[in-house]
Protein backbone atom coordinates (compact mmCIF):
# COMPACT_ATOMS: atom_id res chain seq x y z
CA UNK A 1 0.00 0.00 0.00
CA UNK A 2 2.70 2.53 1.04
CA UNK A 3 4.91 1.43 -1.80
CA UNK A 4 2.06 1.70 -4.28
CA UNK A 5 1.34 5.17 -3.01
CA UNK A 6 4.97 6.19 -3.55
CA UNK A 7 5.12 4.50 -6.92
CA UNK A 8 1.86 5.81 -8.38
CA UNK A 9 1.05 8.85 -6.24
CA UNK A 10 2.28 11.36 -8.79
CA UNK A 11 2.21 9.15 -11.87
CA UNK A 12 -0.44 9.07 -14.54
CA UNK A 13 0.14 5.40 -15.13
CA UNK A 14 -1.84 4.17 -12.14
CA UNK A 15 -3.35 0.85 -13.24
CA UNK A 16 -7.06 1.70 -12.93
CA UNK A 17 -9.15 -1.41 -12.72
CA UNK A 18 -12.16 -1.09 -14.98
CA UNK A 19 -14.73 -3.25 -13.28
CA UNK A 20 -17.36 -2.61 -15.88
CA UNK A 21 -15.90 -3.11 -19.35
CA UNK A 22 -16.31 -0.41 -21.97
CA UNK A 23 -19.15 -0.92 -24.40
CA UNK A 24 -17.89 -3.38 -27.06
CA UNK A 25 -18.99 -3.55 -30.69
CA UNK A 26 -22.35 -5.23 -31.21
CA UNK A 27 -22.18 -8.78 -32.50
CA UNK A 28 -24.71 -10.03 -35.04
CA UNK A 29 -26.30 -12.54 -32.73
CA UNK A 30 -26.78 -13.27 -29.03
CA UNK A 31 -28.51 -16.12 -27.26
CA UNK A 32 -30.33 -13.57 -25.12
CA UNK A 33 -30.86 -9.84 -25.65
CA UNK A 34 -31.95 -7.93 -22.55
CA UNK A 35 -33.50 -4.52 -23.24
CA UNK A 36 -32.80 -2.16 -20.32
CA UNK A 37 -29.73 -1.97 -18.12
CA UNK A 38 -31.36 -1.15 -14.80
CA UNK A 39 -31.19 -3.36 -11.71
CA UNK A 40 -33.64 -5.85 -13.21
CA UNK A 41 -31.80 -6.24 -16.51
CA UNK A 42 -28.41 -6.81 -14.91
CA UNK A 43 -29.83 -9.09 -12.20
CA UNK A 44 -31.41 -11.23 -14.93
CA UNK A 45 -28.12 -11.35 -16.86
CA UNK A 46 -26.22 -12.28 -13.71
CA UNK A 47 -28.60 -15.13 -12.88
CA UNK A 48 -28.66 -16.45 -16.45
CA UNK A 49 -24.86 -16.46 -16.50
CA UNK A 50 -24.12 -17.81 -13.02
CA UNK A 51 -27.00 -20.22 -12.43
CA UNK A 52 -27.72 -21.44 -15.95
CA UNK A 53 -24.46 -21.07 -17.88
CA UNK A 54 -26.01 -18.78 -20.48
CA UNK A 55 -23.37 -16.12 -21.13
CA UNK A 56 -23.81 -15.04 -24.76
CA UNK A 57 -25.95 -12.13 -23.58
CA UNK A 58 -26.17 -8.48 -24.58
CA UNK A 59 -27.76 -5.94 -22.27
CA UNK A 60 -28.87 -2.93 -24.32
CA UNK A 61 -29.20 0.25 -22.27
CA UNK A 62 -30.19 3.52 -23.91
CA UNK A 63 -28.54 5.67 -21.23
CA UNK A 64 -26.11 4.49 -18.60
CA UNK A 65 -26.10 1.49 -16.26
CA UNK A 66 -28.72 1.85 -13.52
CA UNK A 67 -29.61 5.43 -14.47
CA UNK A 68 -33.39 4.82 -14.57
CA UNK A 69 -35.60 4.07 -11.59
CA UNK A 70 -32.81 2.01 -10.07
CA UNK A 71 -30.94 5.26 -9.38
CA UNK A 72 -34.07 7.14 -8.32
CA UNK A 73 -35.77 4.95 -5.77
CA UNK A 74 -35.97 5.29 -2.02
CA UNK A 75 -34.64 1.74 -1.47
CA UNK A 76 -37.31 0.32 0.83
CA UNK A 77 -36.91 -3.47 1.01
CA UNK A 78 -39.76 -5.29 2.79
CA UNK A 79 -42.15 -8.23 2.55
CA UNK A 80 -45.22 -6.98 4.47
CA UNK A 81 -47.68 -7.31 1.61
CA UNK A 82 -51.28 -8.60 1.69
CA UNK A 83 -51.62 -11.63 -0.61
CA UNK A 84 -49.72 -14.86 -0.02
CA UNK A 85 -48.41 -14.77 -3.62
CA UNK A 86 -46.73 -11.41 -3.03
CA UNK A 87 -45.50 -12.10 0.48
CA UNK A 88 -43.75 -15.27 -0.69
CA UNK A 89 -42.14 -13.53 -3.63
CA UNK A 90 -40.95 -10.42 -1.79
CA UNK A 91 -39.76 -12.52 1.16
CA UNK A 92 -37.69 -14.61 -1.26
CA UNK A 93 -36.21 -11.40 -2.63
CA UNK A 94 -35.38 -10.17 0.88
CA UNK A 95 -33.58 -13.45 1.64
CA UNK A 96 -31.52 -13.04 -1.54
CA UNK A 97 -30.71 -9.45 -0.56
CA UNK A 98 -29.57 -10.45 2.92
CA UNK A 99 -26.67 -12.47 1.54
CA UNK A 100 -26.14 -10.57 -1.69
CA UNK A 101 -23.12 -8.48 -0.67
CA UNK A 102 -21.29 -11.72 0.09
CA UNK A 103 -22.48 -13.41 -3.06
CA UNK A 104 -21.34 -10.50 -5.26
CA UNK A 105 -18.35 -9.62 -3.10
CA UNK A 106 -19.50 -6.04 -3.37
CA UNK A 107 -20.57 -3.65 -0.62
CA UNK A 108 -24.29 -2.91 -0.98
CA UNK A 109 -24.59 -1.07 2.35
CA UNK A 110 -27.49 -3.37 3.20
CA UNK A 111 -28.96 -1.99 6.39
CA UNK A 112 -31.74 -3.71 8.32
CA UNK A 113 -33.70 -1.03 10.15
CA UNK A 114 -37.27 -2.22 10.25
CA UNK A 115 -40.29 -0.41 8.92
CA UNK A 116 -43.12 1.16 10.93
CA UNK A 117 -46.37 1.73 9.02
CA UNK A 118 -48.80 4.02 10.81
CA UNK A 119 -52.55 3.91 11.07
CA UNK A 120 -54.70 6.92 11.87
CA UNK A 121 -58.10 5.19 11.62
CA UNK A 122 -59.79 1.96 12.67
CA UNK A 123 -60.16 0.88 9.06
CA UNK A 124 -56.44 1.13 8.40
CA UNK A 125 -55.67 -0.57 11.74
CA UNK A 126 -57.70 -3.56 10.54
CA UNK A 127 -55.84 -3.59 7.22
CA UNK A 128 -52.51 -3.50 9.08
CA UNK A 129 -53.68 -6.38 11.27
CA UNK A 130 -54.49 -8.38 8.14
CA UNK A 131 -51.02 -7.69 6.74
CA UNK A 132 -49.36 -8.62 10.04
CA UNK A 133 -51.27 -11.89 10.29
CA UNK A 134 -50.82 -12.85 6.62
CA UNK A 135 -47.08 -12.27 6.94
CA UNK A 136 -46.76 -14.11 10.23
CA UNK A 137 -48.69 -17.05 8.79
CA UNK A 138 -46.04 -17.33 6.07
CA UNK A 139 -43.15 -17.06 8.51
CA UNK A 140 -42.35 -13.37 8.09
CA UNK A 141 -41.85 -11.22 11.17
CA UNK A 142 -44.62 -8.65 11.71
CA UNK A 143 -46.22 -7.18 14.79
CA UNK A 144 -48.95 -4.68 15.65
CA UNK A 145 -47.75 -1.97 18.03
CA UNK A 146 -49.87 0.27 20.25
CA UNK A 147 -49.14 3.94 20.91
CA UNK A 148 -46.88 3.27 23.87
CA UNK A 149 -44.76 0.81 21.90
CA UNK A 150 -44.56 3.23 18.97
CA UNK A 151 -43.37 5.96 21.31
CA UNK A 152 -40.61 3.72 22.62
CA UNK A 153 -39.56 2.68 19.13
CA UNK A 154 -39.53 6.18 17.57
CA UNK A 155 -39.42 8.74 20.39
CA UNK A 156 -39.17 11.64 17.94
CA UNK A 157 -42.49 10.83 16.23
CA UNK A 158 -45.47 13.13 16.87
CA UNK A 159 -48.26 10.75 17.88
CA UNK A 160 -50.92 13.42 18.26
CA UNK A 161 -51.26 14.69 14.71
CA UNK A 162 -54.18 17.08 14.65
CA UNK A 163 -57.29 15.39 13.28
CA UNK A 164 -55.32 12.21 12.61
CA UNK A 165 -53.88 10.85 15.85
CA UNK A 166 -51.72 7.79 15.37
CA UNK A 167 -53.61 4.73 16.64
CA UNK A 168 -51.54 1.67 15.76
CA UNK A 169 -48.45 0.68 13.86
CA UNK A 170 -47.38 -2.30 11.75
CA UNK A 171 -43.82 -3.16 12.77
CA UNK A 172 -41.77 -5.14 10.25
CA UNK A 173 -38.34 -5.59 11.85
CA UNK A 174 -36.61 -7.20 8.84
CA UNK A 175 -37.29 -4.33 6.43
CA UNK A 176 -34.08 -2.81 5.12
CA UNK A 177 -32.43 -0.35 2.79
CA UNK A 178 -29.49 -0.83 0.45
CA UNK A 179 -27.40 1.34 -1.80
CA UNK A 180 -29.34 1.25 -5.07
CA UNK A 181 -26.46 2.10 -7.42
CA UNK A 182 -24.29 -0.58 -5.85
CA UNK A 183 -26.95 -3.22 -6.54
CA UNK A 184 -26.86 -2.44 -10.25
CA UNK A 185 -23.06 -2.15 -10.31
CA UNK A 186 -22.51 -5.34 -8.33
CA UNK A 187 -24.74 -7.45 -10.57
CA UNK A 188 -23.29 -5.86 -13.71
CA UNK A 189 -19.69 -6.44 -12.67
CA UNK A 190 -20.26 -10.09 -11.85
CA UNK A 191 -22.30 -10.64 -15.02
CA UNK A 192 -19.57 -9.03 -17.15
CA UNK A 193 -16.98 -11.21 -15.37
CA UNK A 194 -18.81 -14.17 -16.93
CA UNK A 195 -18.76 -12.69 -20.42
CA UNK A 196 -22.06 -10.81 -20.52
CA UNK A 197 -21.83 -7.67 -22.69
CA UNK A 198 -23.23 -4.42 -21.32
CA UNK A 199 -23.94 -1.96 -24.13
CA UNK A 200 -24.51 1.50 -22.74
CA UNK A 201 -25.88 4.36 -24.87
CA UNK A 202 -27.57 1.71 -27.00
CA UNK A 203 -31.24 2.42 -27.54
CA UNK A 204 -33.65 -0.15 -28.88
CA UNK A 205 -35.65 1.58 -31.60
CA UNK A 206 -37.65 -1.27 -33.10
CA UNK A 207 -38.35 -5.00 -33.04
CA UNK A 208 -38.97 -7.17 -36.07
CA UNK A 209 -41.62 -9.81 -35.48
CA UNK A 210 -41.98 -12.73 -37.82
CA UNK A 211 -44.17 -15.81 -37.29
CA UNK A 212 -44.83 -14.90 -33.65
CA UNK A 213 -41.15 -14.46 -32.86
CA UNK A 214 -38.92 -11.45 -32.41
CA UNK A 215 -36.30 -12.06 -35.08
CA UNK A 216 -34.35 -8.81 -34.93
CA UNK A 217 -33.70 -6.05 -32.43
CA UNK A 218 -33.02 -2.65 -34.01
CA UNK A 219 -30.83 -0.18 -32.18
CA UNK A 220 -29.14 3.16 -32.83
CA UNK A 221 -25.87 1.17 -33.18
CA UNK A 222 -27.09 -1.46 -35.60
CA UNK A 223 -29.33 -4.52 -35.60
CA UNK A 224 -28.89 -7.84 -33.81
CA UNK A 225 -30.71 -11.14 -33.82
CA UNK A 226 -31.37 -13.18 -30.70
CA UNK A 227 -32.59 -16.54 -29.49
CA UNK A 228 -34.68 -14.86 -26.83
CA UNK A 229 -35.45 -11.23 -26.10
CA UNK A 230 -36.65 -9.77 -22.81
CA UNK A 231 -37.70 -6.26 -21.89
CA UNK A 232 -36.77 -4.77 -18.49
CA UNK A 233 -37.50 -1.10 -19.14
CA UNK A 234 -39.74 -0.02 -16.21
CA UNK A 235 -41.46 3.29 -17.12
CA UNK A 236 -41.00 2.61 -20.83
CA UNK A 237 -42.59 -0.85 -20.75
CA UNK A 238 -45.55 0.12 -22.95
CA UNK A 239 -43.33 1.89 -25.48
CA UNK A 240 -41.02 -1.09 -25.98
CA UNK A 241 -43.90 -3.62 -25.87
CA UNK A 242 -45.60 -1.63 -28.64
CA UNK A 243 -42.51 -2.26 -30.82
CA UNK A 244 -43.36 -5.95 -30.50
CA UNK A 245 -47.02 -5.23 -31.24
CA UNK A 246 -48.12 -5.82 -27.64
CA UNK A 247 -50.35 -3.82 -25.32
CA UNK A 248 -49.87 -4.07 -21.56
CA UNK A 249 -52.00 -3.33 -18.50
CA UNK A 250 -49.62 -0.52 -17.60
CA UNK A 251 -49.79 3.25 -17.27
CA UNK A 252 -46.70 5.37 -16.67
CA UNK A 253 -46.77 7.97 -13.91
CA UNK A 254 -43.93 10.05 -12.47
CA UNK A 255 -43.02 9.34 -8.87
CA UNK A 256 -41.17 12.07 -7.01
CA UNK A 257 -38.92 12.00 -3.97
CA UNK A 258 -36.51 14.29 -2.16
CA UNK A 259 -33.80 14.41 0.50
CA UNK A 260 -32.95 17.03 3.10
CA UNK A 261 -29.47 18.08 4.10
CA UNK A 262 -27.81 15.68 6.54
CA UNK A 263 -28.36 15.82 10.29
CA UNK A 264 -27.22 13.66 13.21
CA UNK A 265 -28.84 10.23 13.29
CA UNK A 266 -32.20 10.26 15.10
CA UNK A 267 -34.35 7.92 13.03
CA UNK A 268 -33.37 4.30 12.70
CA UNK A 269 -36.57 2.65 11.37
CA UNK A 270 -38.33 3.70 8.18
CA UNK A 271 -41.65 5.35 8.99
CA UNK A 272 -44.56 5.43 6.59
CA UNK A 273 -48.14 6.68 6.66
CA UNK A 274 -50.67 5.80 4.00
CA UNK A 275 -53.17 8.42 5.14
CA UNK A 276 -50.55 11.17 4.91
CA UNK A 277 -49.17 9.80 1.60
CA UNK A 278 -45.65 10.03 2.94
CA UNK A 279 -42.75 7.90 4.14
CA UNK A 280 -39.42 8.88 5.65
CA UNK A 281 -36.11 7.24 6.40
CA UNK A 282 -32.72 8.57 7.38
CA UNK A 283 -29.84 7.58 5.13
CA UNK A 284 -26.43 6.47 6.34
CA UNK A 285 -25.24 9.98 5.48
CA UNK A 286 -27.89 11.50 7.76
CA UNK A 287 -30.15 12.88 5.03
CA UNK A 288 -33.89 12.44 5.44
CA UNK A 289 -35.24 10.59 2.42
CA UNK A 290 -38.87 11.57 1.84
CA UNK A 291 -41.23 9.97 -0.66
CA UNK A 292 -44.93 9.58 -1.25
CA UNK A 293 -47.60 8.76 -3.82
CA UNK A 294 -47.43 9.01 -7.62
CA UNK A 295 -48.22 12.10 -9.66
CA UNK A 296 -51.89 12.68 -10.52
CA UNK A 297 -51.65 12.11 -14.28
CA UNK A 298 -49.69 9.97 -16.76
CA UNK A 299 -46.43 11.37 -18.06
CA UNK A 300 -43.10 10.32 -19.61
CA UNK A 301 -41.24 13.28 -18.16
CA UNK A 302 -39.11 13.41 -15.04
CA UNK A 303 -39.84 17.04 -14.25
CA UNK A 304 -40.64 17.85 -10.63
CA UNK A 305 -43.56 19.85 -9.27
CA UNK A 306 -43.80 22.26 -6.37
CA UNK A 307 -47.27 20.89 -5.49
CA UNK A 308 -45.84 17.47 -4.75
CA UNK A 309 -42.86 18.82 -2.81
CA UNK A 310 -45.19 20.97 -0.69
CA UNK A 311 -47.48 18.08 0.15
CA UNK A 312 -44.55 15.78 0.98
CA UNK A 313 -43.03 18.45 3.22
CA UNK A 314 -46.39 19.12 4.91
CA UNK A 315 -46.90 15.43 5.72
CA UNK A 316 -43.34 14.97 6.90
CA UNK A 317 -43.80 17.93 9.23
CA UNK A 318 -46.95 16.42 10.73
CA UNK A 319 -44.92 13.37 11.76
CA UNK A 320 -41.70 15.17 12.75
CA UNK A 321 -42.58 18.83 13.45
CA UNK A 322 -39.03 19.71 14.50
CA UNK A 323 -37.59 19.17 11.00
CA UNK A 324 -39.17 22.43 9.80
CA UNK A 325 -35.80 24.18 9.51
CA UNK A 326 -34.16 21.51 7.36
CA UNK A 327 -33.49 22.37 3.75
CA UNK A 328 -34.31 20.22 0.77
CA UNK A 329 -31.03 19.26 -0.81
CA UNK A 330 -32.09 17.28 -3.87
CA UNK A 331 -35.35 16.29 -5.51
CA UNK A 332 -36.12 14.20 -8.55
CA UNK A 333 -38.62 11.91 -10.27
CA UNK A 334 -38.68 8.55 -12.02
CA UNK A 335 -41.23 7.15 -14.47
CA UNK A 336 -43.06 4.26 -12.85
CA UNK A 337 -44.92 1.51 -14.72
CA UNK A 338 -48.13 1.18 -12.72
CA UNK A 339 -50.44 -1.84 -13.01
CA UNK A 340 -54.12 -2.00 -11.97
CA UNK A 341 -53.39 -4.38 -9.06
CA UNK A 342 -50.01 -2.96 -7.99
CA UNK A 343 -48.32 -6.25 -8.86
CA UNK A 344 -45.76 -6.88 -11.60
CA UNK A 345 -46.29 -8.37 -15.06
CA UNK A 346 -43.54 -10.90 -15.61
CA UNK A 347 -42.96 -14.09 -17.52
CA UNK A 348 -44.12 -15.08 -20.98
CA UNK A 349 -45.56 -12.70 -23.55
CA UNK A 350 -47.91 -13.79 -26.33
CA UNK A 351 -44.81 -14.06 -28.59
CA UNK A 352 -42.78 -17.29 -28.50
CA UNK A 353 -39.32 -15.96 -27.67
CA UNK A 354 -40.21 -12.65 -26.05
CA UNK A 355 -40.30 -12.27 -22.27
CA UNK A 356 -41.62 -9.58 -19.99
CA UNK A 357 -40.23 -8.04 -16.83
CA UNK A 358 -42.54 -5.07 -16.33
CA UNK A 359 -45.09 -3.42 -14.11
CA UNK A 360 -42.65 -2.82 -11.27
CA UNK A 361 -44.14 0.57 -10.62
CA UNK A 362 -43.10 1.92 -7.27
CA UNK A 363 -42.18 -1.47 -5.76
CA UNK A 364 -39.47 -2.98 -7.96
CA UNK A 365 -36.23 -2.21 -6.15
CA UNK A 366 -36.88 -4.78 -3.44
CA UNK A 367 -37.67 -7.31 -6.17
CA UNK A 368 -34.43 -6.85 -8.11
CA UNK A 369 -32.76 -10.08 -6.90
CA UNK A 370 -35.86 -12.30 -7.09
CA UNK A 371 -37.10 -11.05 -10.45
CA UNK A 372 -33.73 -11.88 -12.00
CA UNK A 373 -33.49 -15.20 -10.19
CA UNK A 374 -36.93 -16.53 -11.18
CA UNK A 375 -37.11 -15.03 -14.66
CA UNK A 376 -33.69 -16.51 -15.47
CA UNK A 377 -35.03 -19.89 -14.37
CA UNK A 378 -38.14 -19.47 -16.50
CA UNK A 379 -36.15 -18.53 -19.60
CA UNK A 380 -33.42 -21.15 -19.14
CA UNK A 381 -35.83 -24.01 -18.51
CA UNK A 382 -38.62 -22.65 -20.70
CA UNK A 383 -40.99 -23.26 -17.81
CA UNK A 384 -42.32 -20.50 -15.55
CA UNK A 385 -41.63 -21.34 -11.88
CA UNK A 386 -44.60 -21.44 -9.54
CA UNK A 387 -43.26 -18.50 -7.56
CA UNK A 388 -43.89 -16.03 -10.38
CA UNK A 389 -46.89 -17.61 -12.09
CA UNK A 390 -49.34 -15.35 -10.24
CA UNK A 391 -47.75 -12.38 -12.02
CA UNK A 392 -48.32 -13.66 -15.57
CA UNK A 393 -49.74 -11.24 -18.13
CA UNK A 394 -52.83 -13.31 -18.85
CA UNK A 395 -54.08 -13.07 -15.25
CA UNK A 396 -55.97 -10.05 -16.56
CA UNK A 397 -57.90 -12.18 -19.08
CA UNK A 398 -59.37 -14.17 -16.22
CA UNK A 399 -59.62 -11.31 -13.72
CA UNK A 400 -57.16 -13.17 -11.44
CA UNK A 401 -55.63 -10.02 -10.03
CA UNK A 402 -53.08 -9.94 -7.20
CA UNK A 403 -54.30 -6.82 -5.45
CA UNK A 404 -51.63 -5.03 -3.44
CA UNK A 405 -52.92 -1.50 -3.62
CA UNK A 406 -53.37 -1.22 0.14
CA UNK A 407 -49.84 -2.41 0.82
CA UNK A 408 -48.12 -0.41 -1.90
CA UNK A 409 -49.78 2.85 -2.85
CA UNK A 410 -47.96 5.12 -0.42
CA UNK A 411 -45.08 3.07 0.93
CA UNK A 412 -43.02 1.46 -1.76
Amino acid sequence: MVLALLKYGLSRRYPVREEIPRTPDLKNHYDVVIIGGGGHGVSLAYHLATKHGITNIAILEKGYLGGGNTARNTTVIRSNYITSQSIKFYAASMRLYESLANELDYNLMYSRRGQLTLSHSDGVSRALRLRADSGTFLGERNEILDRQQIKELVPSLNLDIEGRPILKGLWHPDAATARHDAVAWGYAIRACDRGVELHQKTQVTGLTVDRNKVTEVQTNRGNVSAGAVVQCVAGHSSVVAAMAGLRLPIRSFPLQAMVTHPVKPFLNPMVSSTALHCYISQSARGELVIGGGSDPYELYNTRSTLDMKESLAASALEMFPFIGDLKILRQWAGITDMTPDYSPVMGRSPLDNYWLDAGWGTWGFKSTPASGFYLAQAMAEDRVPEMIQPFRLDRFDTFDLVNEMGATAASH
Partner: protein, 89 residues
Protein backbone atom coordinates in the same frame (compact mmCIF):
# COMPACT_ATOMS: atom_id res chain seq x y z
CA UNK B 1 -55.19 24.08 -17.65
CA UNK B 2 -57.78 25.82 -19.77
CA UNK B 3 -61.24 24.55 -18.83
CA UNK B 4 -63.71 24.99 -21.71
CA UNK B 5 -66.35 26.07 -19.17
CA UNK B 6 -64.36 28.01 -16.55
CA UNK B 7 -61.30 29.30 -18.37
CA UNK B 8 -57.75 28.87 -17.07
CA UNK B 9 -57.66 27.17 -13.66
CA UNK B 10 -54.97 25.67 -11.47
CA UNK B 11 -54.10 22.10 -12.51
CA UNK B 12 -54.84 20.86 -8.97
CA UNK B 13 -58.55 21.53 -9.62
CA UNK B 14 -58.66 18.88 -12.33
CA UNK B 15 -58.69 15.09 -12.36
CA UNK B 16 -57.58 13.05 -15.34
CA UNK B 17 -59.84 10.10 -16.18
CA UNK B 18 -57.57 8.51 -18.73
CA UNK B 19 -57.46 7.98 -22.43
CA UNK B 20 -60.58 8.36 -24.54
CA UNK B 21 -61.70 5.11 -26.16
CA UNK B 22 -64.87 3.78 -27.66
CA UNK B 23 -66.98 1.62 -25.37
CA UNK B 24 -67.45 -1.85 -26.77
CA UNK B 25 -70.95 -3.30 -26.54
CA UNK B 26 -70.76 -5.77 -23.60
CA UNK B 27 -73.33 -8.06 -25.23
CA UNK B 28 -71.38 -8.41 -28.45
CA UNK B 29 -67.86 -8.55 -27.01
CA UNK B 30 -65.91 -11.71 -26.19
CA UNK B 31 -64.58 -12.14 -22.65
CA UNK B 32 -61.03 -11.69 -23.90
CA UNK B 33 -61.82 -8.44 -25.72
CA UNK B 34 -63.74 -7.20 -22.71
CA UNK B 35 -60.78 -7.92 -20.41
CA UNK B 36 -58.54 -6.05 -22.82
CA UNK B 37 -60.90 -3.11 -22.83
CA UNK B 38 -60.97 -3.06 -19.01
CA UNK B 39 -57.27 -3.53 -18.29
CA UNK B 40 -54.98 -2.77 -21.21
CA UNK B 41 -53.82 0.72 -22.06
CA UNK B 42 -52.00 2.31 -25.00
CA UNK B 43 -50.00 4.43 -22.53
CA UNK B 44 -48.52 6.28 -25.49
CA UNK B 45 -45.48 8.51 -25.28
CA UNK B 46 -46.66 11.45 -27.35
CA UNK B 47 -49.95 13.21 -28.00
CA UNK B 48 -52.98 11.60 -26.34
CA UNK B 49 -56.70 12.40 -26.14
CA UNK B 50 -58.15 12.10 -22.64
CA UNK B 51 -61.16 12.70 -20.44
CA UNK B 52 -60.62 15.33 -17.75
CA UNK B 53 -62.94 16.77 -15.12
CA UNK B 54 -62.89 20.19 -13.47
CA UNK B 55 -63.86 18.96 -10.00
CA UNK B 56 -65.32 22.11 -8.37
CA UNK B 57 -67.89 22.36 -11.17
CA UNK B 58 -67.96 18.66 -12.08
CA UNK B 59 -67.51 19.64 -15.73
CA UNK B 60 -66.21 16.86 -18.00
CA UNK B 61 -64.33 17.62 -21.19
CA UNK B 62 -61.64 16.38 -23.57
CA UNK B 63 -57.98 17.40 -23.44
CA UNK B 64 -55.20 16.70 -25.93
CA UNK B 65 -51.91 16.49 -24.18
CA UNK B 66 -48.30 15.61 -24.95
CA UNK B 67 -47.16 13.01 -22.41
CA UNK B 68 -43.49 13.57 -23.23
CA UNK B 69 -43.29 17.36 -22.97
CA UNK B 70 -46.06 17.76 -20.34
CA UNK B 71 -47.87 20.31 -22.54
CA UNK B 72 -51.62 20.65 -22.73
CA UNK B 73 -52.30 21.31 -26.39
CA UNK B 74 -56.09 21.67 -26.65
CA UNK B 75 -59.16 21.35 -24.46
CA UNK B 76 -62.76 21.27 -25.73
CA UNK B 77 -66.27 20.09 -24.83
CA UNK B 78 -66.92 16.43 -25.55
CA UNK B 79 -69.55 17.42 -28.17
CA UNK B 80 -66.69 18.65 -30.33
CA UNK B 81 -64.86 15.33 -30.15
CA UNK B 82 -63.93 13.76 -33.50
CA UNK B 83 -62.38 10.41 -32.47
CA UNK B 84 -61.37 9.54 -36.02
CA UNK B 85 -59.38 12.75 -36.45
CA UNK B 86 -55.58 12.40 -36.32
CA UNK B 87 -53.88 13.79 -33.24
CA UNK B 88 -51.63 16.77 -33.95
CA UNK B 89 -48.78 18.04 -31.81
Amino acid sequence: MHCPLNGPRNISEFICYGEFHNHPDPDKTSDKDWAEYVWLANNAAGVVREWWCHTPTNYWFIAERNTVTDEILRTYPSEDLRPSEELRS
